[in-house]
Symmetry: C2
Subunit: 365 residues, 2 copies
């Protein structure tokens, strides 16, 4: 953890009269410590950070992760739990006179929190739920992070191009999805940032369609939504492509979605409310009579997680800030017919935004 980052966190804790912060959210943990393991699930943590207002921060983990923890978590003291996190924690809380301990309420299971609150109480410590402190820091990217994200986007586009070149009618959605992941890994990605979506024809009407055995057909819109992880950072891009010649309706809706995307991008800049960007894109689609067919938000932040703060939708209460990286992904979904979604990532700047994607495949039909 950079000392700058450590100081910011300490300041925010002090302001809330908190003596320490327990970090359980895996991307937050990586962001602060450099410790890279993922968690198999929220029930199986590969470590927790304990950041006191004073003194060295700790990484608490078990023996399976000791070597990796020592290698990666620079500036952290590693403590191993043999009898579970809570037992070790009780000792550390006493040792460092921590009286008010914040925990990540949004990434602690209710059952775990109950155990923690009760155990803390027994040693005179108040466990205080806290939400989004580290996420808020993560939402503004440093120059180094922006470079990593840019590289992730570039590799994702290369993978897309390789896969796109190989598309043919009769290929199943699942075959394309497998190929995406294979090519990703061959080209050096750590893995996909989410399960790729390949949805042809009517299947495209499900924004979160799961690739099926259905064969791709000439002329139908095919939604491909894919992303990868490179050096810990995620990318996320959607293209809708057609094999052969798109019909009139497809072209019309394509142009409409692209127009909405450009309107959204145009509205994005430091200081603008996230919901305003959503509205700029949504108005275009609503005015054309397809408002009800655009059922999701305009976009979301991307970084160490593929979905992170801020959200861009009608209910967003956050303002966009310089250094944020967000997706702009309007779509139109028509049950029985199919869907069209176009998604690019942009970095918010003082005077607008910088589009991270260069790929223009079927973007300006």
């Amino acid at each position: 953890m950079t000392s700058e980052l450590l100081n910011i966190i300490r300041l925010r804790l002090k302001r809330r009269k908190l003596d320490a912060l327990l970090v359980t959210q895996p991307e937050n943990r990586r962001y602060l410590s450099g410790y890279t393991p993922k968690d198999t699930s929220i029930q199986e943590s590969s470590g927790t950070l304990l950041i006191p207002v004073k003194g060295t921060p700790f990484l608490l983990t078990d023996s399976r992760f000791l070597l990796q923890a020592e290698k990666e978590a620079k500036g952290f003291k590693i403590e191993l739990y043999q009898r579970g996190l809570i037992f070790l924690l009780k000792r550390l809380l006493e040792q460092f006179s921590i009286k008010r301990l914040a925990f990540e309420s949004h990434y602690t299971l209710h059952s775990t929190a109950t155990t923690l609150i009760n155990a803390a109480e027994k040693v005179g410590v108040e466990a205080v739920p806290l939400t989004g402190l580290v996420e808020k820091l993560r939402s503004i990217k440093t120059g180094t992070e922006l470079k990593k994200i840019q590289r992730s986007v570039e590799l994702n586009e290369k993978v897309f191009q390789e896969v796109y070149k190989g598309l043919y009618p009769g290929q199943t959605e699942l075959e394309v999805a497998v190929r995406i992941e294979t090519v990703m890994r061959k080209m050096g990605a750590e893995g996909p940032s989410f399960e790729s979506i390949v949805a042809g024809g009517p299947n495209g009407a499900m924004p979160h369609a799961v690739p099926s055995g259905r064969k791709l057909k000439k002329g139908e819109p095919i939604v491909i939504d894919m992303g990868l992880i490179l050096d810990g950072y995620c990318s996320d891009m959607t293209r809708t492509v057609v094999l052969g010649t798109p019909d009139g309706r497809t072209v019309e809706l394509f142009r409409l979605v692209r127009k909405a995307q450009l309107a959204g991008i145009k509205r994005i800049r430091d200081g603008v409310a996230a919901k305003e960007a959503d509205r700029a894109a949504r108005d275009i689609i609503s005015d054309a009579g397809y408002g009800a067919q655009f059922g999701h938000g305009l976009g979301h932040g991307v970084g160490l997680a593929v979905h992170e703060a801020p959200s861009l939708n009608r209910r967003s209460r956050k303002k966009l800030k310089s250094g944020m990286v967000v997706t702009v992904e309007p779509g139109i979904y028509i049950p029985g017919w199919g869907g069209i979604r176009l998604e690019n990532m942009v970095a918010v700047t003082k005077n607008g935004c910088h589009v991270l994607n260069k790929d223009t495949t079927f973007l300006d039909l």
Copy 2:
């Protein structure tokens, strides 16, 4: 959901004077409803079940998942939330006169639970934390489930053989890991059940090693831990292999770990405490002086999740029961030198257990 399963759940709810159960845990949701979407993370649910003691059970989701929900969740009424789960829930609780609502404390975030408890209170409903009810049912597999798991294990072994044949000195761990995933998907798996471990030489000393750019060397032990998902069901297998001739120490430790594994398998049967099986294997390793180098439990349940109930370790309080499927995976880890782990899956039976793995690669050195 089979009516038998529904009845068991209703009975257990009634016994606790509960009017309904909210199911948020993704594998529990799939187990009960057949609805297959995975959740990107615990913060992004693709649906929640509401199972009242009387009447039709509900699947609550959003419009993105409507088509898939209708297709898969037979016997469930689909309700869409537009303004979030809590808002919809309040209406349903009132409509069906639910006064005591159980929620899965072990798969509900503390922040979400707080919102739920407060919202429920406002409409005169008590939200009651509950843990493991569905997991307990899931731990005993039906005949159909056992067949699916067996097929998952068989495919995983085929993939392993294909990858094993292609191993050569100089290949990196990462190359092998990528190959594992590629071959899996080519052979028809939905995907890996966890991130494959390929750890050569000293890297093998980390039980949860992440595949690196390190090149495999002749003569060193190489730990390969891999599993896949087929028709929803997971497999999990570890082999430690050597390219060329293993040295004396390797052979000695191999034999010791295998002896421990066989002792564990021999102890497993209906009615035996899980910790007894752990002890049977652990005693062999401890007696040989390597007790401290076997830092994890003997095994875990496998089914829709790759890690599920029961746990087999020193602190386990559960008894093994006929129909459970568990791993038996002792290991010895020596920092600076490497590790050896051997893992098979077994199905517990009345009089012992049935080993699901047939692969014997480097098992009986």
